[in-house]
Symmetry: C2
Subunit: 144 residues, 2 copies
DNA sequence: ACAATAAAAGACTTTTTTATCTTTTATTAA
DNA sequence: TTAATAAAAGATAAAAAAGTCTTTTATTGT
């Protein structure tokens, strides 16, 4: 479904958002521990998320990553996914045809287009705020 | 969604099924051409499909691959996917948690479980015969 | 100004996936 | 029984994804 990189990115974003709700800025070590990801690799991913303005980064002592509450209410999960994996998941053919189209449909096109639309809807409508609250409330988890 | 290997496997199986409907046994060269896959790699994939009894193989002159009509009416796409990618797509967490469970749900668990169930239903209910007919009738395609 | 902190950047390694090439085995038909 | 055909098997190779390590840059508090 998502690349490992993208999974880490989504989890990291949600974690940062939930900590930001409590006015806490978090560092890479903290993030890696919260989402069970390799620390150095997580750093690389944060660079991408930062460049794509999914998260804000602050260098130096007391630095780290954060997402303003106003921003996380706007950011859709789709933006995180696009930053890492591009928009393949939103538009490409389930059987790998060069392009997905009703004019040259693969044998799964009709059923698959429906599923892909559901995935798109989920990612395009869910904000980081939506998922961060569940985590902050202890209803959902990012590891195990 | 599926690995490249699995995409090729699904397309190859559908192609072989559609040719078998016309009593035609097909060779690797033919398959690779029909689904736009690398020939040698396709051979490797066919070995797996053959071992998993998705297709029947015949060596020597006039040999090749085929699927009996009775068999293709039983074979679900899920069996092809399992042979190549295992059952990850049917059971694993969308965010990569070690196991997907309602007891330790990731932030996307509820929505994702629904989508995964739709994918499972599609793959577990669609037979090779179902998709082979559309291809044989020129309604669906395996390349471009 | 300086030491400490933490992310950014760059170079590199490992692992997995995708793909190729060569040799062997089975089958067929002349 | 031999030549031709076609898949199976095995050994590599190339490319992409995942992960690590080192150096640099920015920021902060003393
Ligand atoms: S053509 Fe394959 S999903 Fe649309
Ligand atoms: S726990 Fe993530 S999908 Fe179920």
């Amino acid at each position: 479904m998502f690349s490992k990189t993208c999974e880490y990115a989504i989890k990291a974003s949600i974690y940062i958002a939930s900590q930001s709700l409590a006015q806490k800025r978090v560092g890479i070590k903290d993030i890696a521990q919260a989402i069970e990801s390799p620390e150095a690799f997580t750093g690389k991913i944060m660079q991408v998320l930062s460049k794509n303005h999914v998260v804000a980064s602050v260098k130096g002592p007391h630095g780290g990553f954060e997402i303003l509450e106003s921003a996380m209410k706007e950011k859709k999960l789709a933006e995180v996914v696009r930053a890492m994996d591009g928009d393949d998941i939103f538009k490409s053919c389930g059987l790998g045809l060069k392009e997905c189209s009703g004019a040259n449909p693969c044998p799964l096109h009709n059923q698959f287009a429906k599923i892909r639309a559901d995935i798109t809807k989920l990612l395009e409508t869910t904000t980081l705020y939506d998922v961060a609250t569940g985590l902050a409330d202890g209803l959902t988890f990012l590891k195990r």
